[in-house]
Assembly symmetry: C2
């Protein structure tokens, strides 16, 4: 049953940290979703899409760029944008200079939606994440997150530029 190579097992302290991190990964997205769905009828992912458009030049962005921003694949984004388009918050058009490219644009209604939704969501993020932490811990969390992202995906956006909420 034992393998030839002895793995470096987790210490009991590491195991405790690990289980805590797993719990946060499971529950924080759920809690955020619940707030947005209840107060605005949006999923967290839909919110990220609208937020990504709201801060782009001319409130417009190509699909694959937006997918990278939202840390998702193209098929998922495509379906979500279809839903948002039906609700009148996003408009799709073909790039005149390259017919393969689809541009997503935030409509005025979409702008109004996101500006109405953002304050409540920011308040939720604050109460769940930043309020329980000291300023020093917030900074540490940033460093820690970036190091972990460096191990998962060294080419990720959150290590170079800045963007949204």
């Amino acid at each position: 049953m034992e393998r030839a190579e002895e793995p470096r097992w987790l210490s009991s302290e590491e195991r405790d940290v690990w289980l805590t991190l797993v719990a946060v990964m499971m529950k924080l997205p759920t809690a955020l979703d619940a707030q947005l769905r209840q107060d605005a009828g949006l999923s967290h992912f839909e919110y990220m899409v609208l937020a990504g458009l709201s801060e782009a030049p001319a409130r417009t962005r190509r699909m694959s760029d937006l997918a990278g921003f939202a840390e998702s694949g193209l098929p998922r984004l495509s379906q979500v944008v279809s839903r948002l388009e039906k609700r009148g918050w996003v408009h799709r058009s073909t790039d005149p200079s390259d017919g393969r490219i689809t541009l997503a644009t935030l409509t005025d209604e979409g702008w109004e939606k996101i500006t109405q939704t953002a304050p409540g969501h920011v308040a939720a993020v604050r109460s769940l994440v930043f309020d329980p932490l000291t300023k020093a811990q917030s900074r540490q969390l940033g460093s820690i997150g970036k190091r972990i992202m460096g191990a998962i995906d060294p080419g990720d956006r959150c290590l170079g530029q800045n963007a949204p909420l």
Copy 2:
């Protein structure tokens, strides 16, 4: 368009921390799933269920207890345990002293499976989470995670034993 109450907006530093955290929450579970699925044919959730049973007395635990451990609801657990039962790794039985309670037990095959799978998974957790961090950062991550969990779900198991910093 502006609300009467001015929300405490996120500072640019907080925004950066927040986006980093969102990225970790999106990608770390995916990365873990990929390792387990490729090396062992298990999802991360299935692994957690087997792990939860493996460390219980008599390798047996009641369903709702197991659901709490795995941070999931009962319906999800029920279906996953059905799958694990079909694969021969778990056995279900009714508690003789209370007919409402279902007990899940890890079979010998299940024990073998988890002991074969654990070293590779621990190595992945190490390389993605603990290796990029200093010892001090690991400890900080534990404190930070416990504080956030305290805000999300004050009654969670991972806060039960010791008082969080």
